[in-house]
Symmetry: C2
Subunit: 479 residues, 2 copies
């Protein structure tokens, strides 16, 4: 066991800080010998399982059902939707051999599973009674990223949920986008991740989609991170995949579809990045693998007595994940470890505390100590649990708000975009806009227009071409 | 929705019955267009998640920690352990391209992850304080099976848990095998799956292992199904992978290792096959996605009243997964559906029940009806829940016992092996035994010797070569 060193400054050197916290807090290991593939260590695995459960519970509540599709997709499936195959081909890992056998047609390691699900949907959807069909899976996907890879943020294997929905009409399908937004909102609020929900510009949508929507947060380096997307697919997939149903009028019709992809990897990256400081991670109780750590500060001759008192405290806290850290190492080094890992509450228990039947309580979020009587522990912990959750949310929201600005000149945009999202008047979200976005691509990207739609700008000019502005868009730098 | 047809006889035509139940109960779909890859549908997915949780809870209790390793393994890792690469090469799916780039060295889709875990263990294990290291992951693995594939039983992608453990000495490592056996026993007993724990013969061990152990059950066609394995690896991997630690005497030593692979896919196949009849699946409460289904039998003019009574019953059963089936289809067809899917308890609620404030209760396991007063529902359900669990276990155990026999002649063996396990005296579990096993391979396989070890045969002759018998082995036909 190495003694953890201090981290770099999160706000000044986010890139370094991020890799350091993954290593020092034993969250991930980036030394696996295939580029862009990373190992999740036990502490983070525990958190990931909890985050998955939060998402899945919300999806289940809304009538989505969990399934599991194969990890592989034959090339024939991809080729059915032209835009989709063109968009994804450069990113696909291909399996071409099994044992000594070379395959006649190659098989993809799924980069996303539209073409797996939709190849089966015609077998499951016959009549309007089979609709809506709302299925999802929790899985890894694989993309042969050519950009620089980074654990959780841009990896060649990452984890997500993908929901694939089919409806008898356009209206219900479009409503699903709103439901997706509500689910994203509910989960993001729970996890304390502030975000904006965007309709992506025409030129930046998912290949095969009619419209794309996404939830974006801002990381401490003021760059946008997209962590969840929803796509309205219309009949773009149902036609080539022949997904039809007989309607109440007994006519055969193609279904309308949406898909939804909450990115668990990026959500986890957000939790790590937003709820933390230069001492390490800060976890709310509901995510912490250990919620309360008790560090005995042993005095010679009183070891047994102090440890017994620690056990007594633990006994009082049934229902919480409590750990007594009696490892054979220095107290300071233990403090470091648990601060790095984000355990929300620490009790330091020495001779004094044992005598006075109290605990010295260290709150990880505020890094403050206080003393509490043993008999008041349970009610205090309940209060502190809520306070930490609220405090993390408040801090994240405050940072997110300071990352918002507005301008009407490219000069100002250049500076302001270094701080986060900049709201700007823009000529169009389609072709004209694409030309304008291209012209400022060295400064920023266009995340999109807000959804639900804002009132359009009045008497404003596009910040790039100077033509009448039709939409407000949000500029930013991106992951 | 097709109306479900009756199934074939489970005991007479198990193969057909098995595929039928997967289809009719909407458990899996075998129509995906890559051979040997199958789709898990919502009903079974829910059960799988529960079975995973039961295993993981037991592993966690014993100090195993969950991690996640990449799905891919570079060929260099495989090549480090000679026997291992030879054993697995014919079964590996190889990734050779990403986008348009052809890789210089191919990458495996993991068939098992020893060579992924053990490439990192030298970075995590430095001193005796880092030991024991007990990590596991819950994941898919991939094998290019050349034998006939069958959902859950022999698939090219299947799900399991794999635990990879490292110890400072041989004794602790061997104790891990016993702990694995205890965990397997606990979970198997919970799930009502009777099994024998074998030490596999020398000639049938995992490639790279010193000894292999396995848990085998018997399916209704009287064939053995191996669903969990434990391997004592000694230092076979720690030497090529250079996994060393400095011991308390400050000397550098190689670790001793074990690995453990509970097969979730095959466990699920066992649950389906053992707890079921010709009408479909039978689930215990703790696995059932719906525990109680209420089927309203509507009488004209009394619809509202009857449905309200159904709601009232549901209200009484908070804490249980209860579903009121008010789909627009015939009552008989609803009965079929829920019997197929194995819902443990059904209430049929018509005018009579509504008048009398009672329920007509149908127990799926015994297919018996009884009438219960509304106010007595909760306590009755509690009793029935336990009874169903016990009944399923009892039935499975009884069938397993009838699958056991013993003989000392190959003539009898030929017949008896059609009924399950046959205990036979055998010359050896090593080379001589391999020769003998080879000679009777058209009749049966040798599952191994029991573990813990039975008393050796006294004054018996090997059933094949006639030499002095040194061990009792168990012959069977296998999946």
């Amino acid at each position: 066991m190495e003694k953890p060193r201090e981290l770099n400054s999160k706000n000044e050197k986010f890139g370094e800080w991020y890799l350091q916290i993954l290593e020092k807090a034993e969250l991930m290991d980036d030394r696996y010998n295939v580029k862009g593939f990373y190992i999740v260590r036990p502490w983070l695995m525990n958190i990931i399982d909890k985050v998955y459960k939060i998402w899945e519970d919300e999806l289940n509540k809304k009538g989505h059902k969990k399934v599991s599709f194969p990890t592989v997709i034959p090339i024939e499936n991809f080729e059915k939707e032209k835009e989709h195959v063109e968009g994804f081909s450069p990113e696909v890992f291909w399996i071409t051999e099994g044992g000594d056998t070379k395959f006649e047609r190659k098989i993809a390691l799924r980069p996303t599973s539209e073409t797996a699900f939709y190849s089966i949907y015609p077998l499951w959807i016959r009549s309007h009674e089979d609709l809506p069909l709302k299925l999802y899976q929790s899985c890894s996907v694989f993309r042969y990223e050519t950009k620089a890879t980074k654990p959780l943020l841009r990896a060649r294997e990452f984890i997500w949920i993908e929901a694939h929905n089919a409806y008898s009409n356009k209206e219900e399908a479009l409503n699903q986008i709103k439901e997706d937004m509500n689910i994203t909102t509910k989960v993001s609020e729970k996890l304390g991740i502030p975000f904006l929900f965007f309709k992506r510009p025409e030129w930046d949508k998912f290949t095969g989609a009619v419209f794309s929507f996404a939830s974006d947060t801002i990381l401490p380096d003021k760059k946008r991170l997209q962590y969840s997307t929803s796509h309205y697919l219309g009949q773009n997939f149902s036609k080539p995949f022949d997904i039809k149903f007989s309607d109440e009028d007994e006519k055969e019709k193609f279904v309308y579809q949406t898909c939804y992809g909450p990115g668990i990897s990026r959500m986890i990256a957000s939790i790590i990045s937003l709820h933390s400081d230069d001492f390490g991670l800060i976890l709310p109780f509901y995510l912490a693998p250990v919620q309360i750590v008790i560090v005995p500060i042993l005095k010679k001759g009183r070891e047994k007595e102090i440890l017994e008192y620690c056990e007594k405290i633990k006994e009082k806290l049934k229902g919480y994940e409590v750990k007594i850290d009696n490892r054979d190492k220095g107290v300071g080094s233990k403090f470091y470890d648990w601060e790095l890992k984000g355990v929300p509450v620490r009790f330091d228990i020495g001779g004094n505390e044992t005598d006075k039947k109290e605990v010295c309580l260290f709150r990880r979020d505020k890094r403050e100590k206080s003393f509490i009587k043993l008999e008041e522990i349970t009610e205090n912990i309940k209060i502190i649990e809520k306070e930490i959750e609220e405090n993390l949310k408040k801090t994240a929201s405050k940072n997110f708000e300071t990352a918002m600005s507005e301008t009407e000149t490219t000069e100002e945009l250049k500076e302001k975009v270094k701080e986060g999202f900049v709201k700007i008047p823009f000529c169009s979200r389609a072709t004209d806009g694409e030309n304008c976005a291209e012209k400022i691509k060295d400064i920023c990207e266009i995340a999109g227009t807000l959804y639900p739609e804002e009132n359009p700008p009045e008497n404003k000019k596009c910040i790039v071409c100077g033509k009448e502005a039709k939409v407000w868009v949000y500029a930013c730098r991106s992951y």
